[in-house]
Amino acid sequence: MTDSKGRFGIHGGQYIPETLMNAVIELENAYNHCKDDPEFNKELTELLNNYAGRPSLLYYAEKLTRELGGAKIYLKREDLNHTGSHKINNVLGQALLAKKMGKTRLIAETGAGQHGVATATAAALLDMECVVFMGEEDTVRQALNVYRMRLLSAKVIPVKTGTATLKDAVSEAMREWTSRIDDTHYCLGSVMGPHPFPTIVRDFQAVISREARAQILEKEGRLPDAVIACVGGGSNAIGSFYHFIPDADVKLIGCEAAGKGIDTFETAATVNTGRTGIFHGMKSYFCQDKYGQIAPVYSISAGLDYPGVGPEHAYLHDIKRAEYVPVTDDEAVDAFEFLSRTEGIIPAIESAHAVAYAMKLAPTMDKDKIIIITISGRGDKDCAAIARYRGEDIHE
């Protein structure tokens, strides 16, 4: 019997319908060929640097540091990338790979709309057709991004099944892929799903920590004491952690969306409240009931509102290399406002979860310690929702 592939400890694997098996095998072969191909890498670097605007800044947040009165804080500014988030790193890689495979159509799921916008952007640039699945609930929460995707000539399909959020968008994109494989690549947006996606997406997002590591060494002459990033599926977090994993003294901290709190049912903090299961192509931690029915999760952040977590994060948790902490809606909204006020940087509500934890951690650390927070995206898309959260109704 052939061995299961793509394992991170006990997690990962390929739990998908037989119909998709040859598609993921084809993808794995294509990726293994391209990842070391100088021509592919040259094209990708060209796109990342001259289209997406990389490398992204590692910005010393002096005012934030002063306000919090502890560790020195740097922000890895993925919000400055073209399309406004880290999602473009992965999408450019996958779209280019799909193009090399002869695919002409990209499908994607999206929660907050950031990955959908990035996929629609790459599709426009590379002359590919694009269909994005988005939970109906999220199309309301993130109406601006729906318009952006349409402007980029992508078709947005509102998903009405289940909780009508990110989980259901993933299910629907998987269903679509099983019905149309020949010309279609499923451009998965996070480090989840069946092998090889968790590895491919991680490798394309690892540019974040590759840059951050070199940048902090240049600015400070040493490695940071902690790297903090928000975790839904976990793509910006794994990208932020990856090149620091061998550096045992660098604490890696993933911030999960606790929603209304991990002691309530309205939470999406998978590592903190879930247990091992099999869903969406992978074995990992999931929020679920005792019979394995996937739980309807909740977070103010559409991008973190997912009942699972990438298998490599599950593994980093198991071996205690990374720590996963819950951050509530309230804490994230406070951080959203605090960073805007102190640094003039409006973070995505997803990224605000990482800022919120840093606001608790930094004051407990000495002034000669260093923290890097990944600002995975910009917060323009969230302004209307946060205003609503504060009881103010604004019309975009």
Partner: protein, 258 residues
């Protein structure tokens, strides 16, 4: 070895599917009895899953209705045990890997064995991941049913050689649901299967009409129907069993060429 083989001893097999607890277990029990009395050779019992990614809208709906009615894996095992007193038709479960994993695979297989369910179909468990469940399934004599898809190509041989019970041939790309036509070269897939195993194979996905079932059964050893039965439940609710019985009779006649 399970009793699944027996299902293929009455000529071409007709295999209906039903989601347990849609809309309630009383209706499911009546429907299963109607299926058995009208010639069903093997009955696929769906254990609902919250997020059935291989299903189209019709069976998704059945899953949602059943779960909304409070159905659980434990209640389904108790239900099957009760049903087994008078229904002797072979059964297989159809559910998702997480349902078995969460129940604990060994405990799940033990209860299958106890309640007389001969096999399990897990559409999200491909060949490469089977090992995790197959060892313990074997221990309890439960067949882990393999699926072969229109895209399987070079994989058919490998899957067929290792198959148990029967082989489920997925007729078309995409998810479950009624289709007006099936374009896959089923004959070619069956030919490769036959070269590698003597285990029977049946075709499912998209079959609803007697002519389709007849054609698929001619090409293989039987036909599997799900969504068309769930549609009867959608339409007639608690009165559906009578219509399901009539439908199963028509379909069994069709696969037998009667």
């Amino acid at each position: 070895m399970s009793d699944i083989r027996k299902a293929f001893e009455n000529g071409k097999a007709f295999i209906p599917f039903i989601t347990c607890g849609d809309p309630d277990l009383e209706t499911t029990a009546a429907a299963i009895r109607a299926m058995a009395e009208n010639g069903a050779d093997l009955i696929e019992l769906g254990i609902p899953f919250s997020d059935p990614t291989a299903e189209g809208p019709v069976i998704q709906g059945a899953n949602i209705r059943a779960l909304a009615g409070g159905i659980t894996t434990d209640r389904i095992f108790d239900f099957v045990a009760e049903l087994r007193r008078d229904v002797k038709t072979p059964f297989v479960f159809m559910t998702y890997a997480n349902v078995v994993y969460s129940y604990d695979a060994e405990r799940f297989m033990a209860r299958c064995c106890e309640t007389g369910v001969g096999g399990i179909i897990l559409p999200d468990l491909p060949y490469e991941e089977k090992g995790e469940f197959s060892a313990v399934a074997k221990q309890y004599g439960i067949d882990l049913i393999s699926l072969i898809a229109p895209t399987s190509a070079n994989r058919i041989k490998m899957i067929a050689k290792d198959a148990e019970g029967f082989i489920y041939i997925v007729s078309s790309l995409g998810v479950t649901g009624v289709r007006s036509e099936i374009n896959t070269d089923i004959g070619e897939i069956v030919k490769i299967i036959r070269e590698n195993t003597d285990i029977p194979c049946a075709v499912g996905f998209g079959i609803s009409k007697p002519e389709q079932a007849k054609k698929m059964a001619e090409l293989s050893d039987g036909a599997i129907v799900g969504s068309a039965i769930i549609r009867l439940l959608e339409k007639y609710g608690k009165d559906a069993p009578q219509y399901i019985g009539e439908y199963v009779k028509t379909m069994k006649d069709a696969v037998m060429g009667r």
